[in-house]
Every structure is written in C-alpha cells, then in structure tokens.
Amino acid sequence: MYAQMVKSENTDSGPELDAFQARIDAGEKIEPKDWMPAGYRKTLIRQISQHAHSEIVGQLPEGNWITRAPTLERKAILLAKVQDEAGHGLYLYCAAETLGVSRDELTEMLLDGRMKYSSIFNYPTLTWADIGAIGWLVDGAAIMNQVPLQRTSYGPYARAMVRICKEESFHQRQGYDIMMKMAQGSEAQKRMAQDALNRYWYPSLMMFGPSDKESVHSAQSMSWRIKINSNDELRQKFVDQTVPQAEYLGLTVPDENLRLDPETGHYKFSEPDWTEFFEVLNGNGPCNKERLEARNKAWDDGQWVRDGMMAHARKKAARAASAKVVAE
C-alpha cells in the first residue's frame, strides 16, 4: 500500500503493555499523551511517514500532466486532485509529529533515502490515459487500504484517515471517468487506455505488498490495530472490484490466468513479478532517481525561501517586543 512492508517491532513487556493491549482490544483510541510501547511508536512513525511521503512524491507522476491536460475542466480537476494529495501529506505529517518527530526530520530521511514511499510512484506517466489509470487503480487500491485504517488504534492517524477518505472517492471517480471517455473515444484513445491498464495493472497489485502470511511484522501490527487486513485479503478485494470495472470499460486486464472461481465467487489471478517489486523498492524502478531528484531539488531550491521567512518572523517578533518596551 502507501505503506509497504513496514517493519514492526515490540521490545516492551510487563503490566503496562498488557493494559495497553487491553485498551486496543476494547477498541479504544490511543492518544499522543497516553503511554505506548516504544515499538508501537516506532512502527507508527515508520508507517505514517511512509504514507505521508507517498502522498508528496505521488504528486509528481500526476503533476507531470497538469500542463498538458486536454481541456480546462480536466486541468482543473487534476490540479485539485494533486492539491488534495499535498493536503493528505500535510495531515499525515501532522499525525506523525504527534509521536515526537518533526516534519523536517522526516523530510530529510525521505530525501536521503532512509525512508521509503510507495513503489507505485516510481512508474512513469506516459500518456493522458495514465492519469485515468492512476485515479482508477492507484487511488482505488489506496481506498481499499485506507477505509479500514479509519478504525486504526492511534487517534490522530485514524482521524487523518477519515479526512483523507472523504477526498479519495472523488479521486477514483475522476480517474474512472477519464478512462471511460477514452474507452468510448477514438481508436487512438482506446489504444491509449488499454496501454495504460497494461502498464499499471501489476504495479497496482504490488501496492498491497507481498503476501504476508508468514510475516511476523504483520501479526504484531495487526494486534496493535495499525494494520487491519492482510495484504492478500486487500489485493483479492481490489481484483474482485476492479475486473468488472475493466470489463465495463471494454478493456482487457493483462492476465491470461484471470478467471472467476464459481465456487468462491472470487477471481483467480496471476501474482505480480515480485523481483521487479523488490528492485523498485531498492531504487531500481523506472523513475526512482527522477522522483527523489525532483524532491531534493524542491527542498534545496526552497532553502532560501524557508530561511527568509524565518528571518522575517524573527525580525517581526523583535520589533513587536521592542515596541512593547517603548510603550511600557
């Protein structure tokens, strides 16, 4: 998902931990000032900031088409959508800050590669149909994961998710709408739409992360209610929801093994290429370098702006203080 393969660790034990677990099991929310195990805090910081970084880096592939959007209306919708993603990043950084890290620290860890963001944003947007595919598939996959996270145990994270989810369904709709227009359009547009689905299908399935049947991290995160569903469960749900939508568009999901299992009512489908997934995570995706370079450039070029604003704030405070002295 936006947070993939987050390492979960637990080093605490004792009555405090038992009481903490009991609160979670009772469905209570944990708030910033409450006692929490160090591992819970650490895991949450990792997960929330990975999610935040994904929103921010995720601006780039879609931002790539804002200046080429085909109509004024499409341009406005896309711009509003990408702006929402920046807002999601902001909510999530704020939620992470309640755990005792600063946004600047987290940003630096993203920029020097210590922290990750979702693998999906390392794929290029080559045609306008990719903007449709991202809204439809990528936001669609994100919703699968984020809706249950509205019930996650950490209060600020759950509340951030509630705000985010309100906007995500609009994101998915606008994406599907773009695909619909193209699928019903000219031959060239249909070809573009099919090509976008071909390229984004497996990377979208990868968003949920590898099968976590045997993962200890998942088990710990699930008992803490930081993770609500297993990766495979969500992936299955996503495929079940998306295949009929593709059929409705008249597009073909690029999977020869795809078929509806009449016994279970679920689709059987091919696994994505996990070797590719790990390559992307390790920096070898098609756009890893460009994405990080763009974020680093924005940060470095913006240094003088942030410094200038700080300097002004200090001057203003000093002037206000001396004016007060004069008045007294």
Binding site: T71, E73, L90, K181, G185, Q189, A298, G302
Partner: protein, 251 residues
Amino acid sequence: MGDHLFEFLLRQGDNTLILSHRISEWCGHAPIIEEDIALANIALDLLGQTQMWLGLAAEVEGAGRSADDLAMLRDAWDFRNAILVERPNGDFGQTMMRQFLFDAYHVELLNRLANSTDERIAAIAAKSLKEVEYHFERSATTVIALGDGSEESHARMQAALDDQWTFAGELFETDAGDHALNDAGIAPLPSELRAGFNTRAIAVLGDATLNIPETTFAHSGGRSGKRHSEHLGHLLTQMQWLQRAYPGATW
C-alpha cells in the same frame, strides 16, 4: 463594439489562463507543502476565472467556438495576455513578485469591472474579486516576508523586482478599443488603474524594504498580440499538445 468586447474578454481570459498555467507548473515542486497547496489554489481560481471569461468571449464571438477551443486551438499571435504572465517562473521569489504585480493590478481592475454596465462582466468580476483580494493579500505578505527576510532573500526579491518591473507597465496600456468600452461604461481605461496600482506597490514594496526601479520604460506587445515573447510558443506547445495531436477527440 463587438470586436472590442471580444478582444477585451480575450485579454481577461488569456491573462488568467496563461498565469494559471505558469503557476500550475509549481505543483509538487514548491519550497514548502503549504506553499504548494496555496499556489495550486491560486492556479485553480484563475483557471475558473478563465472558464468564465473565455466562455463569455466565445458567446460574444458567436462563431460556434467554445472556451476550450479558444484556449487550445489558437496560435500565439491570437493570444492577448500581457507578456508579464507568460514569462517563465524563475525562482520562487520571481514567481511571487510576478504574482504580486499582477494581483495589485487585478484587484484594481476587478473593483472597477464589478460596476460594469454589462451585467455578465459585472457578475464575473464580482465573483473573481473575492478570490483575487485573497491572492493579493497572500502575494503581498510573501513579498514583504522575503524582501524583509534574510540577506539572500532580500537580494533575490530585489533582483526579481528589477527583472519584472518593466513588464508591469503593459497592464496599463490603453488603446482605441479600451476607449470605446470605457465610453460605454463597460470597462475602465487601463491607464486609470495605474494610480491605485502604484499606491499598493509603494506600500507593499516599502514594507518589503525593496527599491522600485527608476525606469519608466515598459515592454509591450502581449495585450495587442503584436509581439509576444518567445516563451508563449513553448507554453502553448505543451498546453495544446493533446488537442492538436488528436483533433476532434473528446476527453
């Protein structure tokens, strides 16, 4: 009058369209997330205003063209925006200085247009004014903060002002068409807006500890369409790409 009105509406819609486009280039690349969001907001407001201005232009023209046709299918010489708004973004300071100069003019203009005898124009102006007053607040605050900030930010803002100042003058250029519209009570003479603009500029740039260049020279050629800068063609190449590459397709 019809031609003058059409030209006037293009000037409004092209200014907002091209400036919106430039600002939207920042999306994902701004110095702070809050600024990224704020810039996208301004771009969105201006895009919405574009739809209204060009929509009305298309209606007035009565040639069966839509706002999208006007935006996506005209070549550079038919655009009527001031050169100021087609200039490349430069650094964040240059973008904000350009925005401030445009906003200061834009508020003055819309204030007057809100009383236009043409109700359609008055309605668009009144709606836009609420947004643009906020744009002005924001760009003025940013120009002051960065001008009166660090040594480096001050130097960059002074350089931005020196660089942009001679492009602001075109906003107040006044031709026969402007006179015709003014006589009909439809729009003010651009030259009449200069005093209000100057008051705003002197106040804000003073607080920003920046020096207004002494020159009275002004570049021109954008609002008349006679000679745009080289930058506009490249901007249109990008903006119009899909419409040009796939003629007649609907998106």
